[in-house]
Amino acid sequence: MPGVDGFIYPNEVELQWSVLIVLYPFLTGLVAGAFILASLERVFNVAAVRPTYRLALLTALAFLLVAPLPLQMHLGHPERSFEMYITPHTDSAMAMFGFVYLWYLMAVLVLEIWFDYRPDLVRTWQASTGLKRQLYGVLTLWSDDVSPEALRLDDRLGRIITIVGIPSAFLLHGYVGFIFGSVKANPWWSTPLMPVVFLFSAIVSGVAAVMLLYMALSRWRGGRADMVCLDTIARYLFYAFVIDFSLEMLDLIHRIYEAGESFGALDFMVKTRLFMSHIVLQIFLGTLLPILMLASAQVVRYGETARRRIYAIAGSLTLIGVLAMRWNVVIGGQLFSKSLLGYTTYKMGFATREGLLPAIIIMLLPFAILAVLLKVFPPWTDEKQMSHGHA
């Protein structure tokens, strides 16, 4: 059989979960990571990252809105997906997704954005006419109370929501790791470390994404991103990366050391079929190189231009590395047979329902949504929040 080496069970010839299922954890990971960055300022009072606070929330929202799309396009019957809400099987991690997602979207993200933006929304409502006025009327729920008491209440509620939001963000992406990690039938997936590894790589990707967006948007607006902010983000990115890398190495070393039943088959797979995506893209280019770059920025006193370049390159490599990691988990976990005696290949279509073209579109869509969100909820109306070219 073409593409098959060794023996696979007859039903394993085609992969079950496609590139769209690779995208889904990547997108929700960005959401979780962006939110953690936002909470750095809101809950842990790291004032330096304030310029990215609103941007981080909007980024999280944009990616969260797109996240169900790859799932819908993958389902055999997307029109039945509501069943997960009306008859959720509580034994199934996947069933709980619907509620975790809904909770995080509505009770955390939307509410937090609303409470933070309310004064701006009210101001825009009162200053607009026609359709724009209607829109902002709805967005403010026709309440124009921006008195100090109301704003104090908003601030307190926003803080509570963020505090609740941190474990919620952990849950949102941690459960994705659990969906894979709890499948005892698949030795590549089955490990208790999976939710934790997913979560920390999510934090790393989300923080890097917001950092890059902040740098790009600042440039686009004719200024430059605040250097103190960037330095702080890069530092936290480095910390998160160290934890993430340690966890991934722990999993790897543990597997090699124990050399259990599946080790031979998996080792062979990583060294052949997954060599480019795992060893080269994920480990070297996507983890080791950015860690070294960020580490060097902590010890060596680079000039500002050099630091901006390092952060941009390291951030981009990080995103590539985390995407590669999702690929290696999802696709890698299906390339070998459960008989541990053979391998199959992933045939990705292009303009098919689960092919490369929809995958690219789904990856671009959040940026389009973010562009709209930036218009409706401008993050930088306050001049203090943006620095123009000097630290």
Binding site: I86, L141, L153
Partner: protein, 174 residues
């Protein structure tokens, strides 16, 4: 609203939006969950009936035995003479090596024949069928009689020497 709730009016509004949403969800849910869901477990009970309602294609050899089995007196009204005449006049149930083979293993699905007895049952005495079980291939236990076609009886059809319904016993082979 400012009077009633002080400066928390906007919070009340948003809480109301959530409450209405939750209520709408509960109403829709009630309408959409199948009424027999959860009766025997976490599934729609009607699925058991769905699983049972499939058409049957293999009748099972008990159905064949009704007309074809045993030696019976031709004047026994319950067993039609035609069935006896159609079958090779030997008894499938006597002590022979094909005894555990049920009819449909060779003759294919016969529920259509049971449903409408005029539907003929195809004769299946072809070499491909016999060799399907008796060709020598790696993997078959030695207890299974196996031949290499061509080495055994030249290329004559299997039935020129063998009776499928009652292969010769060891005594008959001598």
């Amino acid at each position: 609203m400012r009077g009633r709730f002080g400066h928390a009016g906007h919070v009340v509004r948003v809480a109301l939006v959530f409450a209405v949403g939750a209520l709408a969800f509960l109403i829709v849910r009630h309408a959409l969950v199948p009424s027999d869901f959860g009766k025997y477990g976490f599934y729609r009970a009607g699925a058991l009936d769905d699983a049972r309602a499939r058409p049957i294609k293999y009748a099972g050899s008990k159905a064949c035995d009704e007309c074809h089995a045993g030696t019976y007196e031709p004047d026994d009204d319950a067993k039609p003479a035609k069935a006896k005449k159609d079958l090779d006049p030997v008894d499938l149930l006597t002590d022979n090596k094909h005894r555990q083979l049920r009819c449909e293993a060779c003759h294919g699905p016969l529920a259509a024949h049971i449903d409408d007895l005029d539907k003929p049952v195809a004769k299946v005495a072809n070499d491909k069928l016999c060799l399907g079980c008796h060709r020598e291939i790696t993997g078959r236990p030695k207890s299974q009689p196996q031949v290499v076609f061509g080495d055994h009886g030249d290329k004559d059809p299997c039935v020129s020497c063998h009776r499928p319904h009652r292969p010769r016993t060891d005594e008959e082979k001598g």
